[in-house]
């Protein structure tokens, strides 16, 4: 244990992995709260998949593998994916669910095609692009973490500044509009911040698992509190916690990739919260029902008796 803490501070790889995962956890936890409450949880999944061709095209255009270039490409592609989803949902008969599925799979398939195209053209050079598929937290270097911190920091700062506006937008967009807020622009901004969270996550947990990074902490946090601000902070904490524990679990064991361990830690937190959180935990519901089930039935039957008697009396 002491050794682990020591490593966390002084071991370069472990420090980067742990810091990177924790950072991702915080950013996606916070932004996930808005996504989940706006019922857009799976948008993150589609955005993550849609990023892949952006990474490939950025590489094809610039020949650079520097993370900032690739992440900008990823961001733009995710963005286009979102616009396309909105257009399909608003202007055709296709449901939101199918629109997500179409954009997600087509963008991703296109990305795979580009990835293999690049791989066969310049053999040695492409190594590393495919780490975005599953994420490779172990390959994070200090500059990657710094970039994540910068992007995530800006996103979180905007959330802090526009907290009141985003909260109103999430709870009651119609009322926000009547107050004079430009809800369309606000909503585009909020989605862009979610794109930032997704982009940060690609290197760490990869495309497939990103959805859980947004949804898990928010769902878990909602269980423990009825205050929005507390929920956001808790989601950040849960995200960081699962990032950290996932990183530690994967590094202390051989051959275990970080991404899946982060997600498994998070799933554990989410399930514990859904089942055992005070008040909203379903276990307490179940216990109450079990204990009072019979009494409830008795009460209901008594009420029914009186109602029936009253009716018959009136007739």
């Amino acid at each position: 244990m002491i050794q682990l803490l020591y490593d966390l501070v002084f071991n370069y790889t472990l420090r980067n992995v742990a810091l990177g995962s924790a950072l991702l956890g915080i950013v996606s936890g916070v932004l996930g709260c808005f996504a989940v409450l706006r019922r857009q949880g799976l948008l993150g999944d589609a955005l993550a998949h849609a990023a892949l061709p952006g990474i490939c095209i950025a590489f094809l255009l610039t020949g650079s593998k520097s993370p900032i270039v690739l992440l900008i490409g990823a961001g733009i592609a995710s963005w286009l994916g979102t616009l396309l989803i909105l257009r399909i949902v608003n202007d055709t008969r296709i449901s939101e669910d199918s629109a997500l599925g179409v954009v997600l799979s087509v963008f991703f398939g296109f990305g795979i095609m580009l990835l293999t195209f690049i791989a066969k053209r310049n053999d040695a050079n492409q190594a590393g692009l495919d780490k975005f598929l599953f994420g490779q937290a172990a390959a994070l270097v200090a500059s990657d973490v710094a970039l994540m911190a910068l992007l995530g920091g800006v996103a979180l700062l905007i959330v802090v500044l526009l907290y009141k506006e985003f909260k109103l937008l999430t709870f009651d967009p119609g009322f926000a509009l009547s107050l004079g807020y430009n809800t369309r622009q606000l909503s585009v901004l909020l989605t862009s911040l979610i794109v930032v969270a997704v982009v940060i996550g690609l290197q760490t947990v990869g495309v497939v698992l990103m959805a859980a990074m947004l949804i898990g902490p928010a769902v878990a946090a909602r269980q423990w509190t009825n205050r929005f601000s507390t929920m956001i902070i808790l989601a950040g904490v849960f995200g960081a916690l699962s990032g950290l524990s996932g990183a530690l679990l994967s590094v202390t064991q051989t051959r275990i990739p970080t991404g899946p361990m982060v997600i498994l830690s998070m799933t554990a937190i989410t399930f514990i919260s859904i089942i055992f959180a005070p008040n909203r935990g379903i276990f307490w519901d179940w216990l109450r029902r079990k204990r009072h089930g019979k009494n409830y039935l008795q009460k209901a039957m008594n009420e029914w008796d009186t109602q029936r008697a009253a009716k018959e009396g009136r007739l």
Partner: protein, 368 residues
């Protein structure tokens, strides 16, 4: 058979097996659930690998079907707690299952041929090399046998249970009262989706299976309103994608599965833009035509409303109309020309009056 023919045939079989189910998935709004299943069957395959001590097709199918059903049940259980939104429930369960699968693979089978890359993009490229031997007899490429069988199973499923599927899709309540269990149909569909996914897995990989299920069906949905035609069209679009995708992949020397999905995406894009009934261009034209027709109707209704009233002269003045209806000069001119050409109005200096036809039209519009 040359490898090219085998690959195209495999692709067409995969696409057809997927597309025929895809129609019901799109109509039942279960695209993302399918996506979830395609990822979540990974631990099932790993478990099958473990229990069968190596790769075994039947065990793989069984494991995948079980994992698929477990996923569906878990998602529904989570949704029923009402603590979690429907889409969030999906987004919690399938990454967890996929992470579990990856964890198991890297923990116990790190050296075995079960790499996660292949799970995502498959290797249809090698389909002609994987040959099925029974009692030492070479029966040809295994992929053709598997996908052929799945095609037969899926088509028979849809044909035999067509009535039930259709009813359970459009009116689950009615289906239940008629004695078909929508729940049973739901789970049957989910199992067959899981089995198809695992069968197509080796050929095109997880996400591309989803693409071949959803994209051709969504394309067909943009082109027709009739279910049988939609099924046929989606099979056609899927097969065309497989066929053209192969040539595209050869041209670029890139992933065949990726190219197939890209072609499917292009076909979807074409339908999205140019479908005569539900495409964007047709929609824009219709909206524009509606706007014009609507404007002239608005004009006659406005004239009728103020006919004979004391403020008639001021309300029905051209300049006033521009102001009141907030139309641009150009638009106003166009509307007036249209109304005039249709014989709805006549103009006396700056004052507009309804003709008899115009009055009738206005009354019709109001009654509508």
């Amino acid at each position: 058979m040359s490898s090219g023919v085998v690959i195209i045939l495999t692709g067409v079989l995969v696409a057809s097996a997927c597309a025929v189910l895809g129609c019901f998935l799109v109509l039942r709004k279960m695209a993302m659930l399918t996506d979830a299943i395609s990822h979540a069957i990974l631990p099932g395959i790993v478990a099958a690998y473990f229990f069968a001590h190596g790769p075994n097709i039947l065990a793989g199918f069984l494991g995948a079907a079980i994992a698929g059903l477990i996923t569906v049940v878990l998602i529904e259980t989570l949704q029923n707690t009402r603590r979690v939104g429907n889409e969030s429930a999906i987004g919690i369960i399938f990454p967890a299952m996929f992470a579990l699968g990856t964890f198991l693979v890297s923990k116990f089978f790190a050296n075995v041929h079960l790499d996660t890359d292949a799970i995502l993009y498959g290797n249809i490229e090698f389909s002609s090399l994987d040959v099925l031997f029974i009692n030492g007899v070479n029966l040809g490429p295994q992929s053709l046998w598997i996908m052929g069988a799945l095609c037969i199973i899926n088509f028979s499923f849809v044909i035999i249970f067509y009535k039930e599927l259709k009813l359970a899709t459009f009116d689950p309540g009615l289906a239940a009262t008629l004695g078909f269990s929508p729940v049973l149909i739901h789970y049957a569909l989910m199992s067959i989706v899981s089995v198809t996914t695992v069968g197509a897995f080796t050929a095109v990989g997880a996400i591309l299976v989803v693409a071949l299920m959803i994209v051709p069906a969504a394309t067909a949905y943009l082109l027709t309103d009739r279910l049988p035609r939609m099924i046929m069209l989606s099979v056609l679009v899927g097969s065309l994608s497989a066929f053209l995708g192969y040539w595209l992949a050869m041209l670029l020397d890139a992933s065949i599965a990726g190219a197939m999905v890209s072609v499917a995406g292009v076909l979807f894009g074409l339908a999205l833009l140019f479908s005569p009934s539900h495409g964007l261009v047709a929609r824009w034209l219709r909206v524009e035509e509606q706007r014009n027709r609507f404007a002239s109707e608005m004009l006659v209704v406005h004239l009728l409303n103020h006919e004979g009233s004391p403020e008639f002269a001021s309300e029905n003045n051209i300049h006033h109309l521009r102001q009141e209806l907030r139309w641009s000069d150009e638009f106003t001119k166009r509307v007036l020309r249209r109304a005039h050409n249709e014989g709805l109005i006549q103009q006396r200096q700056d004052i507009l009056e309804l003709t008899e036809t115009g009055r009738q039209r206005a009354q019709l519009v109001i009654a509508r």
